[in-house]
């Protein structure tokens, strides 16, 4: 089989971009026809092939050391890297945390929030990923295509994937370009 391989993953996003991907309805069969859908959060295979894929898609920005690893791995294993959605492209909603900083955000979430048990603490297991400032993917690894939208329209995702699967450069403009 020599169909181009596509893999995707989500990091600091809300899964909405992948929902929008599914929202392309029967056109997803067209994608399957054109490409070999490999590891994605919604298929069984969870890691992009070690041998590499043609197109890697990342939803979400990068807000901790684990996200960084995923981004680096996807970049290393993909010929073309696509940042999908506003969080991946700009930082998005999670980037609002950058206004107060990591410390204050953790304290608010684990200590101060009304839903916490009295005496709750910020988790400090050394196994846990370390929080960082929230960044767009292109701030951490080089990105070939930024596909904004919160989430991007199914039409936009279909356009990008089908163009890439057919070896063309997707043009994201006019009706296909929106940041919300």
């Amino acid at each position: 089989m020599n169909k181009p391989k596509i893999a995707s993953d989500w990091i600091c996003g809300c899964a909405g971009c992948h929902m929008s991907l599914l929202d392309m309805d029967e056109r997803i069969l067209k994608i399957v026809e054109l490409a070999d859908l490999r590891a994605t959060p919604i298929t069984d295979l969870k890691e992009p092939d070690e041998s590499g894929v043609d197109v890697g898609v990342l939803e979400g920005g990068i807000n901790n050391s684990a996200n960084e690893e995923v981004a680096h791995k996807m970049r290393a294993r993909s010929k073309i890297l696509v940042a999908l959605g506003d969080c991946a492209v700009f930082g998005g909603v999670p980037a609002m945390r950058n206004f107060c900083g990591v410390e204050a955000a953790l304290r608010r979430a684990y200590v101060e929030a009304e839903s916490n048990e009295p005496g709750s603490e910020i988790p400090n297991d050394p196994e846990l990923a370390t929080m960082t400032q929230t960044r767009a993917i292109h701030e951490v690894v080089p990105v070939d295509y930024n596909v904004p939208g919160c989430p991007p329209d199914p039409d936009v995702i279909f356009h990008v994937l089908s163009e890439l699967a057919q070896g063309r450069k997707p043009e994201i403009k006019d009706d296909l370009l929106h940041w919300h």
């Binding site: 506003d86 700009f90 206004f99 400032q133 295509y145 370009l177 940041w179 919300h180």
Partner: protein, 662 residues
């Protein structure tokens, strides 16, 4: 004319045209942000850069005047690259979270510009600094996180409203839009005209009522006229699902050129009065809903026997009603029923003295436009800071450029601070004061056209003793007027309420004396009252309202506000019929209430204070059981076997007008 070539297109444009405008004339749009056609070019955002042959660096086209033979290119690769860079810098400075911004998706000029350059991301990420959000203003929010410092708001506040509230504090990256000395907008000198919001290209100024109510493309835009006062500003009503979402000043408006005041922009969308949606009649001391049939028949039964009886019915109409309705109203009650007490709710307070003087003098008033170029303005008893505000904007915007302002009004107001001279004359002393000014000008030989003044010193002495103002101050005010080249005298209710045409005459003489009135022009103008004040006056609906044993009082209030004074006066009625849109003390006291449409639910004509006949449009539909003001009168007449005249154009020509009508 100068010839210029833009993108290989040759075009001749008038000298002094900017390259940006010249391109527009040639049908070429240059991306821009800080530039706005009604504001002075500022050249701050640099997005409008173009390549000029022979010039090494890109030039901002909004401030660049054309030169003969200039060759300009707007879409070279280098220019496009620079534009993208400029936009990148703008996005990196503040925090733009488009997914939850009310203007994202069509109504943001910044985002549209980025889309135009096909930007899929920000090459330079923002620094995530938190910028202040000011939520203290009743009508809008200022979110500095979305501000691009284009200063359109600052310029609009100064150049449109003449209010100078907004400015930029600090410099460079620390620059911030602030009100006054960096006080919350809600505590500032802002007069709530909303001009800043209308011109803001981004989502930084958020209109409280229309935000998130849909994009502009989802709205139907209806051109109409504000009926808030007699200035008659042109408006665009943005409607969605039969609801007024927002009102904007019409840039094409001949009176206002886009600007509006608080009343015109926000009153309709913040209306709090309760709508009347069914006809009602008083039964056992309580108003009960009834059918139109019953209500109108009851009124007919009351009116019909009183026809021909001069003292049978008192009829009052609001001057916020359109001219068609006022004409029918006058025809029904004055011509057909022959009542002797048919007038307007304003009772001619803002107009009767003016009308009396015009009977003698003919058209003596000027046009609003002259306020734009006035180098001195004297307001007498006209608080243009509270009503007729746009008339004030027309010259307030020039106060920083040397226009002098004299305010004569016993009432304290914020105008006092703006005025070069503020005279607090004792009430009732206007005539003496104006004559005193005439005398000073005469005595000091400053007249452009001389008046017969027998004893100048005596007039001055009388002015001083009557008004309580020093001779020196009177002289100062007089000198300002006499020395100016394009003086304008505005007067309002403070003068006309005295119902004394002698004061109007004195103002006229003063205007002639200082050259404000000559063969070519008249720069004397009264601001009148409500939207159709002048129409009503021209129809003769301007006598004082007196109840004198009438059996029925009919008040056509329409959507007007009801004063306590009117409620008290009408309370003495034997039988009260009220035609109104909103509940009030007056409708509470009524025996019959007829629910009618508001201004935006009907079309009709208004004659503004300087004689422009303008038409309002029907923008929304009235509630189910509510009827048009004119329909109600027509139906009532039909039940009495009468047909009403609605030829308003003839009706307003029944009397000599004080302004030319057009």
């Amino acid at each position: 004319m100068v010839q210029i070539t833009i993108n290989n297109k040759q075009i001749d444009v008038p000298e002094g045209t900017t390259v940006l405008r010249a391109a527009e004339m040639a049908g070429i749009q240059i991306p821009k942000l800080c530039e706005h056609k009604e504001l002075t070019p500022y050249g701050g955002c640099r997005l409008c850069i173009v390549e000029v042959q022979g010039v090494r660096v890109p030039m901002a086209s909004c401030t660049l005047p054309v030169n003969n033979g200039m060759v300009v290119n707007t879409e070279t690769e280098a220019i496009k690259k620079s534009r993208k860079f400029i936009l990148s810098m703008l996005f990196s400075e503040r925090n733009h979270f488009c997914p939850f911004c009310q203007v994202s998706g069509g109504d943001c000029e910044l985002q549209n510009a980025a889309y135009h350059e096909e930007m899929t991301h920000w090459p330079i990420q923002p620094g995530w600094n938190d910028f202040p959000v000011d939520t203290s203003h009743p009508y809008f929010v200022l979110d500095n996180n979305r501000c691009i410092l284009c200063r359109r708001c600052v310029r609009a506040c100064a150049e449109m409203a003449g209010n100078f509230t907004l400015s930029v504090a600090e410099r460079g990256a620390k620059s911030m839009i602030v009100a006054d000395t960096d006080v919350p907008l809600g505590d500032s000198t802002c007069i709530k005209c909303g001009s800043c919001v209308q011109v803001c290209p981004t989502g930084a100024l958020i209109d409280r009522t229309s935000a998130y109510q849909g994009h502009d493309e989802k709205m139907t835009e209806i051109k109409s006229v504000c009926v808030g006062c007699s200035v008659g500003c042109s408006i665009n009503i943005l409607v969605r699902d039969n609801r007024i979402v927002r009102i904007e000043g019409d840039w094409e408006g001949s009176v206002n050129h886009g600007v509006l005041c608080e009343h015109g922009r926000y009153d309709p969308t913040t209306e709090a009065r309760k709508r009347i949606t069914t006809p009602m009649m008083k039964k056992n001391g309580k108003l009960e809903p009834v059918s139109w049939e019953d209500a109108l028949n009851a009124v007919k039964d009351k009116l019909q026997p009183l026809a021909g009886n001069k003292n049978g019915i008192a009829a009052l109409a609001s001057t916020r009603l359109n001219a068609e309705t006022l004409t029918a109203f006058k025809d029904l009650f004055e011509s057909k029923i022959q009542s002797g007490m048919v007038t307007s709710i304003e009772e001619g307070v803002p107009s009767s003295a003016v009308m009396k003087f015009s009977e003698k003098q003919g058209e003596f008033e000027g046009k609003l436009d002259m306020l734009r170029s006035a180098d001195a303005v004297m307001c007498v008893g006209a608080n243009i800071g509270r009503s007729h505000m746009v008339a004030g904007f027309l010259f307030k915007r020039n106060l920083n450029k040397g226009t002098r302002f004299i305010n004569i009004d016993p009432e304290e107001s914020e105008l006092d601070e703006l005025a070069n001279i503020s005279l607090k004359a004792k009430p009732g002393s206007d005539l003496a004061l104006i004559k005193g000014m005439q005398a000073v000008i005469h005595k000091e030989g400053l007249e452009r056209s001389s008046l017969t003044i027998t004893n100048a010193d005596e007039w001055i002495a009388q002015a001083v003793s009557a008004s309580g103002i020093s001779a020196e101050q009177i002289a100062q005010a007089a000198r300002i007027l006499a020395h100016s080249v394009t003086p304008v005298i505005l007067f309002g209710k403070g003068v006309t309420a005295q119902r004394d045409e002698k004061i109007v005459e004195a103002l006229y003489q003063l205007a002639v004396q200082i050259g404000a009135i000559d063969q070519e022009r008249s720069s004397l103008l009264s601001i009148k009252g409500e939207a159709n004040s002048l129409s009503a006056a021209l129809m003769g609906l301007d006598q004082p309202f007196k109840l004198d044993g009438q059996k029925v009082t009919y008040v056509a209030v329409g959507d007007d506000y009801v004063s306590k004074y009117l409620v008290e006066k009408a309370a003495k009625s034997a039988y009260l019929v009220v035609q109104a849109s909103y509940e009030s003390k007056l409708t509470e006291n009524a025996d019959v209430v007829l629910p009618v449409s508001i201004w935006a639910e009907q079309e009709g004509h208004y004659v503004n204070l300087d004689g422009r006949a303008q038409k309002t449009a029907k923008a929304i539909s009235a509630p189910e059981n509510v009827r048009d003001n004119l329909d109600v009168l027509n139906d009532l007449a039909k039940r009495m076997n009468l047909a009403l005249d609605t030829d308003w154009q003839t009706a307003i020509r029944g009397r000599k007008s004080s302004v030319s009508l057009n």
